[in-house]
Amino acid sequence: METKEKIKKLTGSKAMIQAIEQEMNRDETIFIMGEDIGKYGGIFGSTTGLFDTFGAERIMDTPISETGFIGAAVGAAAEGLRPIVELMFVDFHGVVMDQIYNHIAKIHYMSGGQVKLPIVLLTAVGGGYSDAAQHSQTLYASFGHLPGLKVVAPTFPKDIKGMLISAIRDDNPVVFMFHKTLQGLGWMDQIEASLGPVPEEAYTIPLDKANVVRQGTDVTIVGAQMMTVEALKAASELAKMGIDAEVIDLRSIKPIDKATILKSVAKTGKLVVVDEDYYSYGITAEISAIVASEGYQYLKAPVIRLAIPDVPIPYSRVMEKFVIPDSQDIVNSVKKLMTA
């Protein structure tokens, strides 16, 4: 269908930059703080070129004073500004978790709704390129566990732009996780999913809705970011074997879209949940619990959970490949489910 809408193919990185640029042009209260987000343009290309457009007043390179600048976002937001703060790797949040879980997540609640904190916390997640235990985590669940934070992890460029605009316009704190491999950076693995059609105009995509990215009838596979990509790859393989898989791209970690998951499981009766985060207390556990308590009657077989098996991410490639689920693991799991 022909539309008047202008659509261009963009990488995940370019989709982010476009979202931020359009919002900053719309709203002067928006500014960015972070390490190497100025001239460098963000280590993972989240702010490339924005320094030249908006200058040092609005695109602020910070020292490695992380508790300081993330805590400063609280004060600035309470005073009516809309800070976007980037902390390079999700792994680096250990040092600022007090500001995040005791302050950013709780102040709206503790103040009885008086204080709004429209903060976007940007951070890169994911492994698969031998960056080892302190630079490869996703930590979806660590953030999703905390009341008071919205947590999103979009996969495709169109969703990245629309959800980032929603996050910026939202009056709540939003943790916006972008996956390094999905940024379409020249110096990492090149994958098809990191490039996709993105409308040029500003638009929003809700922060609480999953997306069925492949319709199917035999089994439901739920993932986020690279695990969605692996699930789609697995679904193509399964199709060759006559198995019709439905794939759900979670997009939002918190709040989690129960309705979309339950509707799909009602149709297929079988569920595989796949996660690049740790196994215990993670997305796979959460979704299994949702289906066990609210969709038990639909299940024709036990739920299969694929995730990092409760070990830190190892450095050596052979071990890292072994712990991060991939399409082959998903195919094997589905085959097992179909014969169950």
Partner: protein, 318 residues
């Protein structure tokens, strides 16, 4: 000291090549026999060697995400270290740690990938040394970027309060990735911050190996005698990017050429010969020996086996 500096330089030059294997013509950070991030220390040798020459195996070193020169000066097993960087099962951490996470408890060496994360570990080691009644010293190395983290200030407060045998070496290579010290730090140099904690501060200009040797000697001796902690900041040079593959658009193009012209290893070599401390023949033979040692470490790493994938599940708990 010269040996440690030269070993480190050979090691890093060899690593620069090894790292690019499998990454040409298209650079992919995850490809090749040495995947992941690679932070090399070419140019920063005086900071590590000038300090660690005063330490023994009983003294602790807590190092950074750019750790090779510090590890080599501390006497970390070069073969096992290289095997670790190649992800082999003969590596220090059986391939689990990688280049930013090298642990060799035999020589009390550790490092880590989180900026500032290792400073309090050295403070704790110094506390243990004091509690045990030893004269052992603990030294933390950081880059100048880490001096703006909370861990830096909290650690110095504790070390000063408890008068611990602790020395903090700040390797000011001028750049916290792309942000210069001038744009990130409220004082001209971090040794000035010593006065805030009532401890001793030293400043070494122009990456001078001899000056680094001298002030480190004093700081370590003071720590051993129970006279309390110190900070040393050395103006050092980073010949290469923050990591290999860094486009370095943020620094002037001629900066590196200027730094290379002042190569600290060449300066130390000239000094040793001029002062008749060593003959050039002896230096040549030392360099051959170092070259062979480095090459043997790489051969060991290359020839070692990869771990079994299932080994990933081991070592989470004792």
């Amino acid at each position: 000291m010269y040996r440690a500096m030269k070993t480190s330089r050979y090691y890093e030059e060899r690593m620069e090549k090894a790292y690019l294997e499998g990454k040409q013509p298209i650079f992919n950070i995850g490809a090749g026999p040495v995947p992941g991030e690679m932070h090399l220390s070419n140019g920063q040798e005086p900071a590590a060697a000038g300090m660690i020459v005063h330490l023994t195996q009983d003294d602790t070193v807590s190092a950074t995400h750019r750790p090779h020169h510090q590890a080599i000066a501390k006497g970390v097993d070069l073969k096992k270290m290289t095997a670790e960087i190649y992800g082999k099962k003969t590596g220090l951490g059986k391939g689990k740690g990688g280049h930013m996470h090298l642990f060799d408890p035999k020589v009390k060496f550790s490092c880590g990938g989180i900026v500032g994360g290792g400073i309090p570990h050295a403070v704790g080691a110094a506390l243990a040394n004091k509690k045990k009644g030893t004269d052992w010293v603990a030294v933390a190395f950081i880059g100048e970027g880490a001096a703006n983290s909370g861990a830096f200030h909290e650690s110095l407060n504790l070390a000063a309060l408890w008068k611990l045998p602790f020395v903090l070496v700040v390797e000011d290579n001028g750049w916290g990735i792309s942000v210069s010290e001038k744009k990130s730090t409220s004082v001209a140099s971090n040794d000035l911050r010593a006065s805030a904690y009532g401890i001793k501060g030293y400043h070494v200009k122009d990456n001078d190996p001899l000056e680094m040797y001298k002030v480190s000697k004093e700081a370590v001796e003071r720590a051993r005698k129970g006279e309390g902690p110190s900070i040393i900041e050395i103006e050092t040079y980073r010949f290469l990017g923050h990591f290999q593959g860094d486009p370095e658009l943020y620094r002037p193009k001629d900066e590196v050429a200027g730094l290379r012209a002042k190569d600290p290893i060449e300066r130390l070599k000239t000094h040793l010969i001029d002062e008749n401390m060593i003959t050039s023949e002896a230096l040549d033979s030392l360099e051959r020996e170092i070259f062979q040692e480095v090459e043997a470490a790489y051969q060991f790493a290359i020839q070692s086996e990869y771990p079994n994938p299932e080994a990933a599940l081991e070592d989470v708990f004792c």
